[in-house]
Point group: C2
Chain length 248, copies 2
DNA sequence: CATCCGCATTTTGGATACAAAGTTAAGCCG
DNA sequence: CGGCTTAACTTTGTATCCAAAATGCGGATG
């Protein structure tokens, strides 16, 4: 499990996402190997994986470069995620949920409901809400009966802000944030209802709307010169808690 | 370009798809290395790639196994492909086509039109039609303005019968086949029209219908014990011509 | 002074050696 | 005869070495 290659992969990915390696920077096998004090072999597999994840780009004979991820890229990844999650929801509605799946979804909804019922939500609750949200989306994505949906999704899952359950939080406007959480929560409830009634079309449409909501919310905050740098933005929202689930 | 690892990957993939390596068979680094007379290094990268493609499965300490691909799996992959292609078509319609893109699509349509206009189509024309079809789908998928669509698609692209432009052919019933090609062709025409008019919804809906048509056609032929073996089926339709574009 | 040829350095790909972990099987002891 | 232990083999992960390809620089030549 805790192989060296996986460790290298996790460390370098974190470095990229944290901005320690800036977009455009060169990154090579030997460099990474020396940096983390391992041989070139695990460094090599890690770089191959990072390329597949779309975080670095191979330049023919001159190493890899850190890919610059723009806000436009995030929009694109969210749109792909939306249709895939929509398909997952429809498939699950058509096939019917297993009792275990329904229990998981209901637990997730109960969790977020409880959080929203709290009078004065603390910052710490946000992490819990994110966790509940993540469970909801992951359950539908991976238990829908078409495992290729999740398979395809994993190809873009590592891109910042696309990860399942990632909601952008502005910690300075908790009131507004609470409203947003309430909307998201109600959408979860509606989706579960559609799933229970095996209404595939409604489940799909609602899920697509819900997934794209992440996008719309983003647009409220970002002053988009369309190629605005993503990484600072990524650091601004969602702290380590928001990333933990996807980075390790 | 023609690196050894890529060569190993192509060869082993062909072996799997051709049935030379049966589902359930064990496949290891050393085995492949010895088989193709290369070292373990390229064999390892090839196996990693094959696992990402979903053709083999890692069994903890006991090598990989060839995954058994059922008809149900093919249906699943086609459904994923359909929503991704639908998103691509919608995106392209909303963003508008570049003149080059429109030219490519029109050329593809002219090609298939010409083939269908031929009085007595020979078997050889089928390969040309497939090529035109492939160009049409690839153009939309990769030129739509959201490169992540193609990126996600590549994750499932290697699964048999999912590949772009793959249409199943029954060589014994050319008349019926011609009818089918005509339907597909007309759908291409409609999609191009929707793209030109920048009608995203119509482009998406038509493309989804069109992509799923591959699936419906499959169902006409396969006596589905639902877990019917895929590989014989794959060999029955589409000969080497149908696979060439995706395997090398 | 510009251009072209060639060498050196960088970088990757492949081969092999080595070590660790797990699996299988056989033998030994109860 | 059965269960447990151990030993050998399989398999994978990592390190290092070698070779090939490409790039960039520098010198020589027109």
């Amino acid at each position: 499990m805790g192989s060296s290659a996986e460790h290298v992969l996790a460390v370098v990915r974190r470095q990229i996402l944290a901005g320690d390696r800036a977009p455009g920077d060169k990154i090579t096998e030997v460099g990474v190997a020396a940096d983390l004090d391992v041989s070139r072999t695990p460094a090599r597999t890690a770089l191959a994986a990072l390329e597949a994840e779309g975080l670095i780009e191979k330049r023919d004979g001159r190493g890899f470069t850190i890919k610059s991820i723009s806000v436009a890229d995030v929009e694109k990844s969210i749109k792909v995620r939306a249709v895939l999650e929509g398909l997952a929801a429809r498939t699950m509605a058509e096939n019917g949920m297993s009792p275990e799946t329904e229990a998981k979804l209901r637990r997730s909804i109960d969790m977020s409901q409880e959080i929203l019922d709290t009078e004065e939500p603390e910052i710490d609750y946000i992490g819990q809400y994110q966790e509940a949200n993540r469970i909801f989306h992951e359950t539908i994505m991976y238990d829908c009966g078409n495992e290729l949906v999740g398979h395809a999704f994993e190809r873009i899952a590592r891109l910042p802000l696309t990860a399942l359950g990632t909601l952008a939080f502005d910690r300075t406007t908790l009131k507004r944030e609470r409203m947003r959480l309430t909307v998201g929560h109600s959408q979860h409830v509606i989706i579960l209802d559609a799933l229970a009634k095996r209404d595939g079309q409604r489940a799909e449409r609602m899920m697509i709307e819900h997934s794209n909501a992440t996008l719309n919310y983003e647009q409220l905050f970002v002053d988009k010169g369309n190629e605005a740098p993503l990484l600072p933005l990524y650091q601004r929202y969602g702290g380590p808690n928001g990333r933990r689930a996807t980075l390790d």
